[in-house]
Each structure stands twice: as C-alpha cells, then as structure tokens.
Homo-oligomer: 532 residues x 2
C-alpha cells in the first residue's frame, strides 16, 4: 500500500545558511512558486523574528496564491526568563500569519544546560509553553527537535521527555533533527523507532538530516522505513557545512522505488526542470553529478555501454531518465561509437542510417580531432557545428583577416593587462576593431563583438558564463597543447564550445568563434523556422 | 573488536570514466604515490588490454617502490568463443605483471544472454575458466561481480552460481558490484548477506557501489555491517554518471565511527591534504561540501557561534576536524596547516615553536594569498620561497624592468604563435632579451632564460615538466582569475611553483619567476653548504 509522506523544503531557511547563498525577497517569491509547482507540502521560508528581509517576505507572501504548498515560518522556543507574550521573536512569528509554524527546541540535555544555561525542567517548560501558546492562537505547530539523535544517545529518557513536552503543548509534528550530521544509519533507525513507538499514535514523526557523514539521504530513507512520515530537507541539498538532506534525491527514491507518495504523481516528471529553475534563481550551477536531476545522471561514456543502452536502456539505467524529466546523454568520445553521431545527425536528417557514408566521415573527423586533444563530450555547441559542416547545414558569418593580442608588465593602467586588435570581413565589407581587458581572451572577445555588432546586432546578447583551460600533455610543459572550453548563453539557451592549440590564445579564439557562429546560426533558423 | 577492511581505489580506472577526467601517464604515477602515502591496499590503475596509455603506465609502474599499496590491473572474462590463451586482452593483463588482477564478469542472467549472447552455462564457464587461468599463472584474483544486485533480484540462484564459478576458478575476493547504482539499502544488505552466508568462509566478500540513488556511501557501510571486508570506490567519488562510492567519506566513517581499520591509524590525519593533492593532479576543484575533507565540512558562522565552538566544539561538530587533517573554516588559513608551516621553518631554524610570532605572520600571509586563489598544497617551491621571504633566507636574483608578449594570427611561420621581449637588471647590469614560441609562456620562458644565462649559467638546466591552468571563478568567464602551476626539474630535484592573476600570462610569469629563483637559491646553498 502506498504511504503518504509530507515534505518540508527548507531551501529558504536552512539552505540559505550555505556558503555564498543569498536571496532577495523577489528570489524567495520565485523559489516558492517553483516549489509550489513541484507540489511540496510545506515551504519553510525564513525566520520572521531574525531579520527585516524575512519579515518583508512574509508580508508579501500573504498575497501569493499557491496551488499545493503552504508557507511556514520558523522560530525558536521562548527565552528562558520571559513569557511567550513578551518574547519579541514569537510575536514576529505570529505576525507572519502562517497557518503552520516550525518551532525548534533543545532535546539534548547538554545543550539545555551548557548552551541555554537552563535547568532540564526549565527547558521542557519552554518547549511545552511555546507550543501551547502558538497552538492556542490557531497555529499548526511542527516541533523541530534539535540534536535529537545526539541527545538520544546521551540521555534517551530526557530526549523523549522533550518530545513529550512538545506533544503536551499541542505540536502535531515531531521532527527529529540530526543536527550535527554525524549519526550512522543504525543510530538513526533506533532513534526514529523509539519516537514512533512512543508518540506515533498521536503525532506525525518527521526527520531532518545533515550530510556531514555523507548519509543525509540514507538516514532520511531509513527514518521513513522506521515509521517517519514527514521529511525535511533542501531541494538541491545545499546548506551549512556539507549541506542538508537533498530532497530531489529523497523524493525520487521514495516515490519511484519505495512506494511512497510525496508530491502529486504527475509532477515527478517536472523534477529536473524545477531543480534547474531553483539553481538558476539561487545563482549556482546544478552539480552535474547529482542523482536523478544532474546533467550527467544518465550520461554514458564507454562505447560498449552506449551500444547496450541504445539496445536496451534497462541494461545500464536504474530508472528511465524521462520519469524525472531528465534525459540520456551520450558523452562524445573516441570510444563512444557511431550510435551517438547518428543520434545527432538525425536531428537534421531523419533518413540517416548507421551505414550512411556521412556517418563514417564524421567519425573519422571526430577521431582526428580527439587525437589533437578535442573532447566533444563537454562541447555540444562545437560538436553540432562539426556535424553541420559535414552535412552542409552551415554557413560562415565572417572571415578573419588577422588578429593581434599583446600583454605587458608593468601595467599602463590598473587591471589593464591585455590588448587586442582584429580585422574581419563580412560580404566584402571590412571592419577593424580593438579591445582591452584584464586578460588576452577578454580583450579578443571585446574586439570581436565590436567588429561584428554592426552586421549582427544579436551578438551583443551573448554572454560568456564559464571558461575552462586544461593543459593536455604536461610533459612538454609550456609547449604543451591547451584545451579551452567556453560556455555561453543568450539568456535563453546555453551552449559550450571548444578550441585546442599549443597556444592558449588561439585555442580561446577557436572556442570564441564557434560560440558566436553557433548563436548566429540559431538566430537565423529561429527567424525562418527551418535549418539553414 | 576492530575489523580490518581492505580498500581498493579505482580513481585511475572507474574514476577516469567521469566527465572531463583524463590522466596522462605521469598524472597516474602521481596519483599512485598519493594513494600509497594514504595507505590504500589496492590501487586499480587501468585496463592494460584496452589502450596503449594504460599499457605504458603498467610498464613504468613496475619500477615504483611503494610503501603500502599494490597496483592491480583490471580486465574482463575471456571472450565467448575463444580460449584464455588466445584472448589478447588477457595476455595484456598478464603482461602488466601485477601480483593481483581484477576480473569482471556477468552475474545477471539477462546480461549474459542479452548483452554477451552467451548461454547461462557458457557465461559461468567463462568466469571459472578466466579466474582459473590467471590463478594458475600466480595471480591473486579479485572477481568483480558486475550487476550482482540486479542479478540477485532477477535470478538469485544464478547470481550466486556466478559467484561460485569464480570461487571454483580460485578467486580470493568476490566483489559485489551495484553497477546501475539503483539499489535501495535493504536490497543491498540482503544481497551481501546471501553472499557472506554462502561464500564468506572461503573468500573475502567485497562491495562496489555507484551513487545513482545517492546511496553509494550508505550501501557500502551497510555491506560492511552485513559482513563485507573489502570496499571498492574512488577517493573523491567521481566516476561515470553520478560517480562511484566516495572512499574519503567511507574510510572516515568506517575508521572513526564503526571500529574498522582501513588504512594505518596515523594516516587518517593525512586524508584532507591527500584528497587535495589528488584533486590538484586531476585538475578539478575539491567539492567544498564534501563530508570530512571539503573546505566547508567544518564551517561555522562568525561571531557568537565561533566562540561557542572554540569553547566546546563537541556541541556543534560530529568529529574533530583535525582527526582527518581538516580544520574549521573560520581558521581557514589553517587548512594550509600550521604544522606544515612549522615543519618548513624548522628546516632553516630548528628552534621555532608553535608560538613563535613568525609562524602567525606566515599564516596571515598564507591566508591572504589563499583568499586571492593561491593554494600551496600543490606548490612546494613557491611555499618554500614564501617562508624564506618571511624569515630572511631569501635574496632576489634580478629585477624585472618590463616584459611584453604578443600573439598573432595568421602565423608568420608555421608553429610560431607568440613573441616575448623583456628587460631585466642584475647588480646594475641590464639585459634585454627576446623569445618566441608556440605560446606566450613558452616565449616568455625562452626570453627569461636567455636574459639570465650570462649571470647564472645553471638556469639552462631548468626544464619545465608540467604546466597546469585552472580558471578559479568560471562564472565571470574570460574575466575570471587564473591559477597556474608549473613543475620544473634540473635533473636532480623536482619543484612546483604557482602564480595567480586575472591574466593568464601574468599568472604564468609569477610561477616562472618562482621556479627560476627556487633553483638559483638551491644552487648557491649547495655550493656553499649553508643557507643564504
């Protein structure tokens, strides 16, 4: 029988403790909408008592119309020597006017006495009293039992008493927090079992884990096996230290493999695009190695694997990539075989078969280039141009007459290291342009853009978003060959291009030209709704 | 009672299937040395039958003197319709002359019949025969039971028969492979238990997992709980798709929390620096969120929290960061290691203690440089120069007046991309020199050597043997900051130097100057038998 598991996402609260993560109020609204689209039950969106930005968010959030989710506010038990009514933070929490609130409290005896400097009984009273106060004011209370597993190990009886105090105060969910992230699987199972046995009849038991031992996902799943029906985490797994439990992985495992329902069934197909959206809003790169939703989660490199996967994906894939909205990727490499080349060509010409001569031509070209140091697995843009050139779906946009770059030290001006000059020709018209920058590629990029923009205004939309350099054969040191990868975007699409040369500047130039050409071809094809 | 667990690292084999991972033969030698320093038992270093680069590695590897590790070669069971003696890949495997070999074979009935097109009995015979052939030629055979867990689910009896065939052939280790990465924790436990019950008395049972469900670490630990005593993985967890089991996490959990011994006890303190070294050689950034060894694994927020952690780290940390050679992020400069600084200074002045003011001065300098993007773990030469500058064991050898480099296309001459000119001063004498090359750094290196050689003839002995470039903040694309590492040798010593700048040429120049200065100081000190 399918079990219902309620999910609480804390991207906006615990997740925002991660290094380099910072949300504007507008970002927070966008994240809420993405999580609502996915069908997350609870969105823990911040601590209204802790800062004015969170307070502003909760004011604006009151007007949001959500399909699936409810926004919850987070706060702490009242202070030791005051009443709930006098506690400023609790008053802020109430003013957020959320249906549900999350209250965290101490369940590890050591933390109560050594960090709060409260007696064990005082701490229980703070928990009971706070839950009760909020409950009487109509709030559904989720109790976050901080350090529960460490507490359970140190003083089992007290940890359970603290849960009991929350229940007496009217909490409906007891969320067991593995705050230090250090618990092993069996410790986690044991703690959850004890809480389920004692309180499972009257309350929902939840789990909240961190990844310090690399077990945040495993401990969450084991907790569900042991009876928990509420799981807290962060959609993409970021957070303080090693991060929070990754909900994209947990939801996939629970829903696709453990017969649980966390989000509406049809929404799991939206998981990958929504994760990408959340990564974009957060301004981070989605880890390509993330289970289920990462760009490489279904990437195949070895040739033998690729043939087998094309014949029968079940042979090497644990699930269908499409079931989580991801897709299969064949990384282009010498060993990858012709199957992948065919897949690419079919986009332009569906009649191509394995034995078409053009397939062998392209394979030979790829091999030759890989021998020089090209690697197309990370350079979809350049690979597409290579295929286009072989099948006639390509046109050049300009001719290079020359370029020159120079670098010097000491600097003429602070930060100004490099100069570039170039001449190009478009349909018989010549254009000379110059660029400067804090590196030679930066200067060249600037000059090329300047020269092309009067002919092709859309080049101004191109932004280089990533730049990678790899020296290929270290043995011959500075005379070694260099591979440059450039990632570009025009705000809609993202593409990657490659250049290889013994000269880092020429390698960059080649990748740069591919990037510009890729964009210009796409623009024409979009405009005329057909391949050039 | 402490259990011994043997570790097999497959960074150089399965790990190298990861996107963008590519090792030269020299890189492979460096990785072997790092893993040997850590104390890994088996280093699976490649498939000698699959490509000439691996074959070259195994030839060179025969001369390596290792303290702890043995290098093992990887290959497949013989082909269906031939004998072992006729099998080219098996002959290559033998010619690698390793004491131990890993042989993978099919244990999932579907894979035998549908992918190999062999009958079930034929497949068993291939396993038995191959193990036996290698065993008779003096090899210790580890059998990698590909797709064991999927096979066990589909046809339990056949999966166990396949293990039995390996035992009959004389395999000493049965490594159960979770090839698709899709198994849940309980499936994994059940499969390992069955293998331990049936074969545990006569063979070592091993585990090999992938991270497609985010459970590679958990499944490895559960396997050990169920009786496995051999664990395969990749030190930093990279590999095809979502990666292999992360050994840095697994070793830490087993050794610090599960009363197992995987590597010599004193070596676990080296875990973080060795992981950094492996990341450097691989030319990837170590994920800051990695459990135990990531830069943020023990990150704490500033202010009150720091004080609390300093008073009682136990309140917030699952282990002592130092126990794995890591440290708290608010003491980030400590990552470079106060002890490493002290150790270096002691070479010059044995009276230095932990509290000497110069130690704090150097630590502050290191911290500032690390903030700029320097990383001294992989740059011993530059680190020694930094220490020397702080304690007065340094002299400059020349002053740079200026340098200029230029690059142009089309080329004046084939292969001639770059030009450099510079002026230096030595003791009031000026020297102007020019250089050309197939890249700007090559040209600059040539010019500097030419300018210096009349003053310091030994600069002609310097050869640059490796050159690495890493873009540090890819997000700002071509304006990002660049880290250059140069490895040099004079035929006797090898040293590595570093430079960081937004300009790749300046970064290379800084590393080049350090390399020349390092050599010249050493020469003087050798000549006069004392420190300058």
């Amino acid at each position: 029988m399918e079990r219902n598991i309620e999910i609480l996402d804390s991207t906006l609260r615990d997740g925002s403790q991660g290094e380099g993560i910072s949300y504007s109020v507008q970002d927070k609204i966008h994240i809420v909408q993405a999580l609502d689209d996915l069908g997350i039950k609870y969105i823990e969106a911040g601590n209204p008592g802790s800062n004015p930005k969170d307070m502003e968010f909760f004011q604006r959030a009151k007007n949001l119309k959500l399909k699936n989710s409810q926004i919850v506010a987070f706060g702490s038990t009242r202070r030791k020597d005051s009443s709930c009514a006098e506690d400023v933070n609790l008053q802020s929490l109430l003013s957020a006017e959320t249906e549900t609130v999350v209250i965290f409290g101490k369940t590890w005896d050591f933390q109560a006495t050594e960090i709060l400097h409260a007696s064990l009984e005082e701490n229980l009273e703070m928990i009971r009293d706070t839950c009760s106060y909020l409950n009487q004011r109509g709030r559904n209370v989720i109790f976050d039992a901080e350090h529960f597993f460490t507490g359970f190990k140190a003083n089992k009886d007290y940890a359970l008493k603290a849960l009991g105090a929350a229940i007496q105060g009217g909490a409906s969910v007891l969320s067991l927090c593995e705050t230090k992230g250090g618990a092993m699987i069996e410790e986690c199972r044991e703690g959850v079992r004890a809480a389920v046995e004692k309180f499972g009849a009257g309350a929902v038991i939840g789990i909240h884990t961190h990844n310090d031992s690399g077990l945040a996902v495993a401990n969450s799943l084991v907790a569900v096996e042991a009876g928990a029906t509420h799981v807290q985490g962060v959609l993409l797994g970021f957070g303080e230290r090693t991060g929070n439990a990754n909900l994209s992985t947990i939801i996939s495992n629970l829903q696709l493999k453990m017969n649980c329902k966390c989000i509406p069934e049809e929404n799991i197909k939206q998981l990958t695009p929504i994760c990408k959206r959340v990564a974009e809003i957060t301004n981070i790169t989605l880890d390509p190695g993330l289970p289920y939703v990462g760009q490489n989660a279904f990437a195949h490199k070895a040739g033998m694997h690729i043939d087998a996967v094309l014949k029968n994906p079940f042979a090497y894939e644990h699930i269908e990539p499409e079931s989580v909205g991801n897709s299969r990727v064949f990384l282009m490499s010498e060993v990858a075989g012709r199957s992948m080349v065919i897949e690419k060509i079919r986009k332009f010409d569906p009649s191509i078969t394995k034995s078409s001569p053009v397939v062998s031509e392209i394979m030979a070209k790829v091999k030759e280039l890989e021998h020089q140091g090209y690697q197309f697995e990370g350079a979809d843009g350049s690979f597409e141009l290579l295929v286009r050139k072989s099948i006639g779906k390509y046109q050049p946009f300009f001719k290079l007459r020359y370029y020159k770059t120079s670098d010097e030290s000491p600097l003429i001006e602070k930060g100004l290291y490099s100069f570039a000059q170039l001449k190009i020709e478009v349909d018989g018209h010549e254009e000379i342009a110059a660029g400067e920058g804090n590196g030679p590629v930066n200067a060249l990029d600037f000059a090329l853009r300047t020269a092309l923009k009067s002919f092709y205004p859309s080049v101004e939309d191109i932004h280089l978003t990533d730049y990678k350099v790899r020296v290929l054969d270290g043995k011959s040191a500075t005379a070694a060959s260099v591979r440059v990868l450039i990632e570009s975007t025009d705000g809609t699409d993202i593409w990657t291009t490659i250049g290889v040369s013994c000269d880092v500047i020429e390698a960059s130039w080649l990748a740069l030209v591919d990037s510009f050409e890729y964009k210009l071809i796409k623009d024409i094809e979009k405009k005329y709704h057909k391949f050039i």
